[in-house]
């Protein structure tokens, strides 16, 4: 019934960037993650940990610390700048040079009125947080070495700052250092090596907890300046430390260079609870490399580091065991597609932060390979990293955008490849988040800042502005993260991070309708080439089919909702990032996540609730006559991993772009050398 020739592509050298730091906003349940390349990602912990926003990085930004102040997000880095982000338009709103050299740490006081940054020049600088900006107030007394970490006391009256060989407690009002806590260097051979206090925490009862490069977690009495307890947790560095400050300050987690995350809890060993002390409780080993970033939510420990994976480890005393809620989550790949496919031309576009690569797939006739896949060209981007890119179906047009500009290229294939940059672009094409070509390659659609879509015509001669598609005038909407056009050129569908899907009629150039809002964000949308039904898949793995013509959900969609999706489908922990269709069989919907691709056959019944979801192997073992009885609509293939894209070309060959996790791991920085028994 379904036999496909496959282009198995493993030459997309996608390398995720290391996680440098993270910050959890308990009010909005959003986690902000900053990567080594300067990118900032926002994960929605209320919507199946969906990566709803990505702010592209920038060369040299070197973010070291992140900090939420209410709904506002600030970062500071080794470039010496404090950046506030515009989370609606996904770019830096402004940057302020702190004039203290590289900045190592940033933290706000509990009232959200002041920001403290720790600088290379030994000063802790205080900035006032004003409505639309921040303003330098003063320096605390200068120390003779760099300030690596700092933490406000919840009363905002003191700041504990971690440096080399010591921790200083500053009076935030006067700027004087009131106490100096001397940190011991490592024992043995490393006695001459200075100890760096990588992170520090300050509790309401004036307990200070520090993690340092000698592998120690130390508990101090901040009032008397004395050391209470030392835990030697690793031979290497304790790189990060975080307190569950928004709850009851009873749990502290520390991340090490070994890849472990160690929990300490303030508990008592006796029944009457009078003699509580900090006790080392759990050790989590979910990383292969240094854990440089941590966050503590109500119910989970979130960690990230050099192995680039984001790990959410629910705490089993806070969630119900053996449920979806208690499962370990590892997010290793982006929640959006970085591969563009020109179906008619057999071309692939790979999007990297700093460049694009265009490849032509090989062709073959029968068993003879006429042409191997070859590299066409590379587009190098400069400082600002690439936000989005698009390739037209014919392969003749390529567009990409950064936070500041849009580029459009015309590609011609004769005996040689010729690439021409279209230099004069309409001024409306500026800050764009999504790009999409029409199927006949005559138009380019771009989602812009004011939650509208710019339509431009592209032709041999020029790129001409045509129209702006808007919602009702004056109504503000969230940023669009998905854009797709129908094959017949009549419809355009857009989706935004407020879970709204809008449909535009391109013949009339106006809004056609809005799909009923489902409370989980769409992760991908596509319009069926024959039926013009919109298929949407959401972060909670639900699937809907909406008829654009009828402006209502289709019968098939209603039946699917009534039947319910199998729990094995709903429990998948990576989102569907791409949907494509089969030109030969209109009943097929082909979609994929990181670990599988699936052909949904709309002509077949849905699986019963007790049916086996992955039944392809079973079906193969049955005689053909019996297969029909056992078949259901979901045909899943798990032969390929880890999937970056699955697409179907016009010649009906399947393109499977894989990026095995092992290939990524082989290029990570060096892990620590652990001495294991019998090796």
């Amino acid at each position: 019934m379904g036999e496909f020739k496959v282009h198995r592509v493993r030459f997309f050298d996608y390398m995720p960037s290391a996680i440098r730091t993270m910050a959890f906003n308990s009010q909005t349940e959003r986690l902000a993650v900053a990567r080594a390349d300067g990118a900032v990602e926002i994960f929605n912990f209320n919507d199946n940990f969906f990566q709803e926003k990505v702010i592209p990085g920038q060369d040299g930004r070197a973010t070291e610390a992140l900090c939420w102040v209410g709904h506002r997000l600030f970062s500071a880095g080794l470039n010496g700048e404090i950046t506030e982000y515009d989370l609606e338009n996904l770019r830096p709103q402004y940057t302020v040079d702190a004039y203290g050299g590289p900045i190592w740490t940033i933290s706000s006081n509990s009232q959200g009125t002041q920001l403290a940054v720790g600088c290379e020049d030994g000063t802790v600088k205080i900035f006032a947080i004003l409505e639309e900006r921040i303003q330098f107030q003063r320096n605390l007394n200068r120390h003779k070495g760099r300030i690596i970490s700092l933490c406000w006391h919840p009363s905002s009256a003191q700041i504990a700052a971690g440096m080399t060989d010591m921790i200083k407690i500053f009076d935030a009002e006067t700027g004087h250092a009131t106490r100096r806590l001397l940190v011991d260097r490592a024992m043995g051979a490393s006695k001459n090596k200075e100890v760096v206090v990588w992170s520090v925490g300050y509790l309401s009862d004036h307990t200070i907890i520090s993690g340092d490069s000698a592998g120690k977690v130390q508990i101090w009495n901040g009032l008397t300046g004395t050391l209470v307890r030392t835990y030697l947790v690793t031979k290497w560095d304790v790189l990060s430390l975080v307190i569950n400050a928004s709850q009851d300050e009873s749990s502290v987690i520390a991340g090490t260079s070994e890849g472990t995350v160690i929990q300490f809890q303030f508990i008592s060993s006796t029944v009457d609870q009078h003699d509580k002390e900090w006790v080392r409780t759990r050790t989590f080993r979910n990383h292969s490399h240094d854990v440089s970033a941590l966050a503590h939510t109500d119910t989970a420990v979130v960690s990230g580091g050099m192995d680039t994976q984001l790990v959410v480890r629910p705490l089993l005393d806070k969630v119900e065991k053996n449920t979806q809620e208690s499962a370990l989550r590892k997010i290793a790949f982006p929640h959006r597609s970085l591969v563009g496919c020109a179906k008619k031309a057999g071309l692939l576009l790979f999007q990297f932060p700093d460049r694009l690569e265009l490849w032509k797939l090989g062709e073959s006739e029968g068993h003879v390979c006429l042409m191997y896949p070859y590299f066409v060209c590379r587009f190098l981007q400069g400082e600002d990293h690439i936000c989005c890119s698009a390739l037209s179906a014919c392969g003749g047009w390529l567009a990409y955008s950064t936070v500041s500009s849009v580029r459009l290229y015309r590609i011609q294939y004769n005996n040689t490849i010729s690439i021409n940059k279209v230099s004069k672009l309409p001024k409306e094409l500026r800050s764009v988040h999504q790009l999409c070509f029409s199927s006949d390659s005559s138009k380019l659609f771009a989602s812009s800042c004011q939650s509208s879509v710019i339509v431009v015509a592209v032709s041999q001669q020029e790129c001409r502005y045509l129209h702006t598609l808007k919602h009702k005038t004056g109504e503000w909407k969230a940023r669009m993260h998905l854009l797709c056009a129908s094959d017949d050129g009549k419809w355009l569908a857009t989706a935004n991070t407020d879970c709204e899907i809008h449909i535009y009629n391109l013949h009339k150039m106006k809004l056609h309708c809005m799909v009923p809002v489902y409370n989980s964000c769409p992760t991908t949308i596509a319009i069926h080439p024959v039926t013009n039904n919109l298929i949407s898949v959401h972060a909670d793995q639900q699937i809907f089919e909406f008829s654009l013509v009828q402006k209502e959900y289709t019968q098939w969609s209603r039946r699917l909702q009534a039947q319910g999706l199998l729990s094995l489908w709903l429990e998948r922990d990576t989102p569907i990032t791409h949907i494509t269709f089969n030109p030969k069989n209109p009943d097929h919907i082909i979609l994929h996540d990181t670990y599988m691709f699936c052909i949904i056959d709309q002509s077949l019944p849905f699986p019963e609730l007790n049916a086996v979801l992955w039944n392809q192997m079973t079906l193969k073992s049955l005689p053909v006559s019996q297969r029909i009885g056992q078949s259901h609509a979901f045909k899943i293939c798990k032969s390929f991993q880890h999937l970056m894209c699955v697409s179907l070309l016009e010649d009906l060959s399947l393109v499977v772009v894989e990026r095995p996790l092992l290939d990524i791991m082989s290029q990570l920085p060096a892990p620590v050398r652990q001495k294991k028994f019998a090796t």
Partner: protein, 206 residues
Amino acid sequence: ETAARLSSSKTAGIEKPAESFTLSLESSDDEAPEEVTFEDSKAAALRSMKQALDTARREKQLLKEKRRKRQELFQEQKKRKLLSADVLEEIDSASSNLKGKYTVTTVKERTLASFQQQVAEEFIRSRLYGPGTCRTTNNEMLSLQNKKGWNKSAAVQFVKKDWGTFRTSLRLMTRGSLLQLLQSSWCNVSSKDKKLKKEKKDFIFS
């Protein structure tokens, strides 16, 4: 007279330290010679010698520092020389027929701030990866995992023939040499395609 003789021989001691220890007693029956012990004069001579050496060393350091700062300044000035704006514009908008691959990049001016950033980045690098940090390779770590795992398998470099070598060189290849390389056993694309055509079982959906 004796005292004067002694003091002059002390100062002369810088060049000829040996001489300063010889106390030449002049004949003068009226004045008693000043009592200076051997230790004292030795100490004094050593002190002045040390002082001289210190001064010389300090001067050397200052000169070195000055030379280094000048060198740095020259480097910065060199880097600050940019191409003029219109040349950049021309390069940027040039269209061309390609017979190979081309890339256009814009270079940014390096400043003192980026120098400080480099120093900071070097600090992290040396603390985490410098000497004495006891690190290994990903290859070794993954091989150990293979050996200790439930399904024991060979060390990673034996499992993956192309470990780390292929990809970096891929982009620099011309099409001809790429074809040659793809014909080798590594390439998943062509060999797997052929393999799949032979097998034809993976994608028969029932």
